[in-house]
């Protein structure tokens, strides 16, 4: 199977931009509901437009993900670890898409105007219903916790690849210059959507 050694540059840019914004979003969210200080007001004022921005970004990101095949996982990763890697990535995608939609639906169900700024607002996507609001509001909270835990696991796994396994996984998502194995395999071809052969031969299994 032909795949690139690194993620598409656009995918990498989206990954790190969204990583920062999503972490900010989670901290803003958990902070604004647990304070009665004036921080509550301005955190809330950031939370909604940032959520809408993240919804747009995740749609672009999903398209990029489907258009440009990501690099394959190292062949010597144990099957369970491979399965967890794939499952956690799709969980992250699912949560990234679900969270802003639930937030939007929740405000709609609560009868709130979905204000993104002082006058810009989104239409409701659900009719007003106290029951729907309550379920969506709690889903928004618990899925946010789940998203945060998944991110912690994702970060731990990325660092495990970078520091313990020291394989190609972490560099495939960074912008650091990598020492190519062969001079003709510098991963620049990805811009065209074409792909390079796997840069390394399958490795022997872990001792």
């Amino acid at each position: 199977m032909k795949t690139s050694a690194t993620f598409h540059p656009l995918a990498r840019l989206l990954h790190w931009t969204m990583a920062l914004l999503i972490l900010a979003m989670l901290f803003i969210g958990v902070g604004m509901v647990t304070t009665v200080s004036t921080r509550h007001d301005w955190l809330l004022a950031i939370h909604r437009p940032l959520g809408a921005t993240l919804l747009v970004l995740v749609i672009i990101r999903l398209a990029v993900r489907l258009r440009f095949r990501p690099p394959a996982l190292p062949a010597d990763m144990p099957p369970l670890m491979q399965w967890m890697a794939h499952a956690s990535h799709w969980a992250l995608y699912g949560l990234m898409i679900a969270m802003p939609l639930i937030g939007w639906a929740m405000l709609s169900a609560g009868g709130y105007p979905v204000m993104l700024g002082s006058s810009l607002h989104l239409p409701p996507i659900l009719s007003a219903s106290a029951t729907s609001f309550a379920w969506l509001r709690e889903a928004h909270r618990y899925l946010a916790y789940l998203l945060f835990l998944t991110i912690l696991g994702h970060m731990g796994a990325a660092l495990y690849h970078a520091l313990i396994r020291r394989d190609d996984v972490f560099p495939s998502m960074t912008f650091m210059r990598r020492k190519p194995v062969h001079a003709d395999e510098v991963p620049v071809v990805v811009v065209t959507g074409a792909s390079l052969p796997e840069p390394t031969a399958p490795r022997p299994p872990e001792p």
């Binding site: 989670l26 304070t35 200080s37 004036t38 509550h40 007001d41 006058s119 190609d168």
Partner: protein, 359 residues
Amino acid sequence: MSASSSKPPHLLWRWCAIGGAVLLLALAFAYTGGWLSPQRLTPRRIVDALQNGGGLHPGFRRNHAKGVCVAGYFDSNGAAAPYSRAQVFAEGRTPVVGRLALPGGNPYAPDGSVPIRSFALRFSLANGQQWRTGMNSMPVFPVATPQAFYEQLQAGAPDPATGKPDPKRLGAFFAANPETGAFLAWVKTAKPSASYVTESYSALDAFYFVDAKGERHAVRWQVTPEAGDAAPGPAGDDNYLAQDLRTRLASGPQRWHLKVTLAAPGDPTNDATKVWPADRTTIDAGTLVIESEQAQDSGACRDINYDPTVLPDGIEVSDDPLLAARSAAYANSYLRRTSEEAHLPGAARTDAHGTEAAR
């Protein structure tokens, strides 16, 4: 390229770095969410204190629990439009869903038990924006900060021995908080009114109007009644307000005037315990007309959170610290009562009518 087949040096330190990074992020999240600082005043603690004072009544608001839904419209005369570009102040009509209520968390409180009534309004602007406001029939708020409000709730909590607030604790609180003086002086002479309709209701907190040029004007607003037959409530009846409202509406719509007071430079915008001098310019922005009422367990106001920070373009919050706290606490109360309505796992149970079940 890969070195995964060989053991990296300082393996233990590498694992520590990974664990440390994950732990640090988790701790930062826990700190932000208040899990590491139980002393932080949170919306939950404020609403717990309200619930402690009024009792747990599933499905009901945790404050201003007893009330009635009303509906009507606001006819703007355009007089406030030079100060606020909000569509609601342009000449014309804006539909309103409101709620008249008693302060306190007990939905069965006698109407004569407290001399204060409240009026909450939601203006639905044609451009899709909303203006929500919660007003009270008193000239000032007792306290200026969320912390003092919380302490007042604690001082007024029912004594487990008597089931009533301990006057000594309340007295000590008021003595320690001299800013409550203006409220106490007012409440001493205030009588529970026989009608919602004869009362003036003030937003208490200051806001900013923003005009078409983007200039901000500090304001407070209130609605003043056209009905002039104010009288003290009848003795021996605990539920006269709703009946009075029905009777009056049967004979025609009830009207208030929306009065907007402009601050002079130096007037406090961050202290709801202080009135502004009486000579400040006041604009009559138009007429609030209430045409109908509905029971609060089925009316249109039931599922509205009258969060005073839900504002249209042209009105902004001031630096009054109570506003953010009201927004945060109202949201917590709203989630509790809608969760009870939805029978969410862990929520207090309501019966089919949304009123409390026998406990």
